[in-house]
């Protein structure tokens, strides 16, 4: 089952312009952890390149650590669903836009250069809250 998911991801990475598609990489993955990309479910593992629109999904025993190209860092807790809805970053100007949707679960954030570049350039949206992120370290939790 794993092979079937990994192969298309590898092919995609080869076809896409790496500099454009690459928004960050998974650094840590334990337990049930995967990345949803369209209809694909890609097992999370260190080195997996993330793209705008990807969703990070962890099971009850799952955890994930991600570093983005603007140096923002994420730690996803168990039972979490995190959509990387929008990510734009200009390496030359170090400005951009980063919108994350935390649908459920737990997310620790160390904000990077996008958050620093302009007020509310980085946002985290939950089912009941909209956050404008400055250069800060914090945890967001969604419980039902």
């Amino acid at each position: 089952v794993i092979q079937r998911f990994v192969l298309p991801a590898v092919l995609m990475a080869g076809l896409a312009t790496p500099a454009m598609a690459d928004i960050g990489r998974i650094k840590i993955a334990t337990g049930g952890a995967l990345v949803e990309r369209g209809t694909q479910k890609i097992p999370a593992k260190p080195g997996l390149v993330l793209e705008q629109g990807d969703t990070l999904v962890t099971a009850r025993d799952g955890r994930m650590g991600v570093t983005f190209i603007d140096n923002t860092r994420f730690s996803a807790g168990p039972n979490s669903r995190i959509r990387l809805s929008e990510f734009q970053f200009n390496g030359t100007t170090r400005r951009g836009k980063f919108v994350t949707n935390l649908d459920r679960g737990l997310l620790a954030v160390v904000a990077g250069q996008i958050a620093k570049s302009e007020k509310n350039a980085m946002k985290v949206q939950t089912p009941t809250a909209l956050l404008g992120v400055g250069r800060a370290r914090f945890v967001v939790k969604v419980s039902s």
Partner: protein, 197 residues
């Protein structure tokens, strides 16, 4: 029956109601406490700003309650979560002999530590950021810094780094290490920063 539904439906909705909470961690030497703004989901205007370390905010749209937590909450409640944050990116600055791609001796001596850092990290990626001094036009310096970054990226490939983990970027004269007037030559500003993530 109608009355029962009247009572039950709000109860069910309340049961399904999701709650969001925010906890802001204190800064340390390198990193400020910073701030997170709670925005009106419809207008995007600030409803509240959380900028006190260890503040916890409970949020339901425009409704926000905030209190400051005492004790070491970060470790006791979120220890595992924080342990799974990837290491902070590590930055190395390389300097070059005038008009050449040869590193100065001091930078050459830093290479083993840089390569060891690349090897140490799981799922590593490396960003090579070129910087110029203020000699020449901004447009030209963007090109020059990009070219220099590209050359250093090629050097790293020759040292055995996988090309798919390297990104080369030019910052031109936007981030001077020493502040100078325009059109000033500076060995300190002509540099390449290598960020290991």
């Amino acid at each position: 029956m109608k009355r029962l539904a009247f009572i039950l439906i709000p109860l069910i909705l309340a049961g399904c109601q999701k709650r969001s909470a925010l906890l802001l961690f204190p800064g340390d030497g390198e990193y400020p406490t910073g701030a997170v703004a709670i925005l009106d989901p419809l207008t995007g205007d600030d409803v509240a700003v959380v900028d006190t370390a260890n503040s916890e905010a409970k949020i339901a749209g425009r409704s926000v309650t905030t209190h400051v937590i005492t004790g070491d909450i970060a470790k006791s409640r979120y220890g595992t979560l924080l342990a799974n944050l990837p290491d902070a990116p590590k930055s190395f600055t390389l300097y070059f002999k005038p008009n050449s791609l040869d590193l100065i001796d001091q930078s050459q001596a830093e290479l083993p530590a840089l390569l060891a850092e690349v090897k140490r990290r799981a799922g590593v990626d490396v960003e090579v950021v070129g910087h110029t001094d203020t000699t020449g036009s901004e447009v030209l310096n963007d090109e020059l810094s990009q070219k220099r970054a590209g050359e250093v990226a090629t050097m790293f490939q020759k040292l055995g780094l996988d090309s798919t983990i390297i990104r080369a970027v030019g910052r031109g004269e936007r981030e001077l290490k020493e502040q100078t007037a325009d059109e000033t030559a500076s060995e300190v500003n002509r540099r390449v920063e290598v960020v290991v993530r």
